[in-house]
């Protein structure tokens, strides 16, 4: 069994990278708009179906379809904000949570009605199956997921830390009123965050599709993993979401190998409950401040 460990680690990091991407989008919305988006996984589902349309139906080449899908998802994210967040933004958190749940039901069933329950297949990024290094078989798709996730995280870091836009986004998430007093267009910043978050989710969906198949149910599953990643890493914490996602992927893969396959998903929830009950601030959570 022990010789399986490096292989499982690789697979776990690949799956974890997907969770990390979705969790990242999820956390950005919490920080920028205080929105806990229960339809985050639906972004991945839609991204994957968008690829199905672009690739299989329109017959576009892969590397044209991907940027189109990303842009399409970003536009969708802004639309999503307009429907589920904007009208409710002054009414507190609960109404927005429920409306994103409604959006998740709406989106998955619209897609279900259009494409039916049978899963669609998306080809992988590469034709070659993969390569073997030191006894670990590296599936090309998993490799692609890990590399692209790393690049996206780097890109986000550069945007947030090096550009003025990134600073404005950060300022908006830290204190909206003050940001508006400085002339930062807060509404635009929030919409950009929604667009970016949806694009990240979409990319995750496109990347994971060749592994999981493209199905309506993938959204709900991915949503829940993103929540778990976010709690494990620390609620609203950006590095925490990435590490939480990776950790979750690894734990889940090991759990499936050593404990039980049917309860693989239960492991994620059990881990989530454990963290919520024992360490709700997560691995990297900030201390919840006292406030009267």
């Amino acid at each position: 069994m022990l010789e399986l460990v490096p292989q499982l680690l690789f697979t776990g990091l690949g799956i974890g990278a997907i969770y990390a991407l979705v969790a990242l989008g999820f956390v950005l919305l919490i920080r920028a708009a205080n929105v806990v988006n229960f339809a985050q996984g639906e972004f991945s589902m839609l991204g994957a179906y968008m690829m199905v349309v672009l690739l299989s139906i329109l017959g576009l080449p892969y590397f044209v379809a991907i940027p189109l899908a990303v842009v399409g998802m970003a536009a969708f994210g802004i639309l999503f904000a307009g429907a589920t967040y904007w009208p409710l933004r002054h009414r507190g958190q609960l109404p927005v949570i429920i409306s994103t749940i409604g959006a998740s039901i709406f989106l998955s069933n619209i897609v279900l009605a259009t494409y039916g329950p049978s899963p669609e297949v998306l080809p992988g990024l590469f034709d070659s199956p993969g390569l073997e290094i030191g006894g670990v078989f590296m599936d090309s798709q998993y490799l692609a997921i890990i590399v692209i996730t790393a690049l996206l995280v780097l890109l986000q870091f550069l945007i947030f830390e090096k550009t003025l836009l990134g600073k404005k986004l950060q300022a908006t998430s830290q204190d909206k009123e003050m940001a508006s007093l400085l002339g930062i267009p807060v509404a635009v910043m929030v919409l950009i965050t929604f667009g970016y978050s949806a694009a990240l989710g979409g990319i995750a969906g496109v990347l994971v599709a060749p592994i999981l198949f493209v199905s309506v149910g993938m959204g709900a599953l991915i949503s829940l993993k993103a929540f778990a990643a976010n709690i494990i890493g620390g609620f609203g914490n950006i590095p925490g979401a990435i590490l939480g996602g990776l950790a979750l992927g690894v734990v889940e893969t090991f759990g499936a190998a050593f404990i039980s396959v049917p309860y693989k998903d239960a492991i994620a929830f059990a881990l989530l409950l454990l963290f919520l009950l024992i360490r709700p601030q997560g691995l990297f959570g900030e201390k919840i401040s006292e406030k009267a």
Partner: protein, 254 residues
């Protein structure tokens, strides 16, 4: 023509009238102090000017343009920078980034120029230079106030709104803050200052207004206000020569 002209301004928060027909003017180049006790409507006046109070009526004219109904983003672009109560320095950004973002209202100014002006700001606030890369949440109250003022100045405002700059600061730091306020005027910026600390405020101001529960009580030059018994009473209650006699008389009653 005054730079800012407020006439019969009314503001509501929920069921409460916070401003009840306030009128005041600020001329270009002046420092004007708004004084009054807690809840008199001083901060609300500044927030109304900046577009943060939704239900306004009356007139609010800056440089010939009405500000009523404009968003905060639009108002700061007209040249009014607001340094709010509590400083509101972004806790997760560095001092440099905070100051840099103060220039967000100036569209089309390239980043390189904003960075250069941020450097100039460190000349104006030399104490901040060594804190350039410190995150907002690590600063002390006095440092936060410096950053907030520097950030406000980065907007190149024609008028700076300062809300309670001395709040919670030790006396020495308060004096330092007020030296800075005086030097801001030297740069030609008009200042509308809200203060609890009447003494410090009137020491730098050209004129002052004293508010009480949302309307104007009295206005005038610092020495006029300082010697006005009504002002001292509004501010100090029993402190100004009062005694506890009333309270003792009350105790005798059932």
């Amino acid at each position: 023509m005054p730079l800012l002209e407020i006439a019969d301004l009314r503001a509501r928060y929920g069921a409460a009238d916070v401003l009840k027909g306030l009128s005041l003017t600020v001329a270009e180049g002046e420092i004007v102090a708004l004084l009054g006790s807690n809840g008199a409507g001083k901060s609300t006046t500044l927030r109304s000017i900046s577009g943060l109070v939704p239900n306004l009526s009356g007139s609010l004219v800056f440089d010939g343009r009405s500000l009523i109904g404009l968003k905060p983003e639009a108002i700061v672009r007209l040249g009014i920078a607001h340094v709010p109560e509590g400083r509101r320095v972004f806790p997760g950004l560095t001092v440099r980034e905070n100051i840099l973002l103060g220039g967000s209202n100036r569209r089309g100014v390239p980043r390189r120029q904003l960075e250069r002006e941020t450097d100039d700001m460190f000349n104006f606030f030399p104490d901040l230079r060594r804190l350039e890369h410190a995150l907002g949440w690590t600063l002390s109250g006095g440092q936060l106030q410096m950053v907030a003022v520097a950030r406000g100045m980065m907007a190149k405002p024609r008028m700076l709104l300062l809300d309670e700059p001395s709040l919670g600061l030790a006396p020495l730091i308060v004096q330092q803050v007020f030296r800075i306020i005086a030097s801001i005027r030297e740069l030609g910026t008009t200042v509308l200052l809200v203060e609890q600390n009447a003494h410090m405020a009137l020491s730098v101001a050209d004129r002052g207004y004293v508010l009480e529960t949302g309307s104007l009580l009295v206005s005038g030059k610092p020495d006029e206000l300082w010697s006005n018994p009504e002002v001292r009473a509004a501010y100090l209650g029993g402190l100004a020569g009062g005694t506890g006699a009333t309270a003792e008389a009350e105790r005798a009653q059932p």
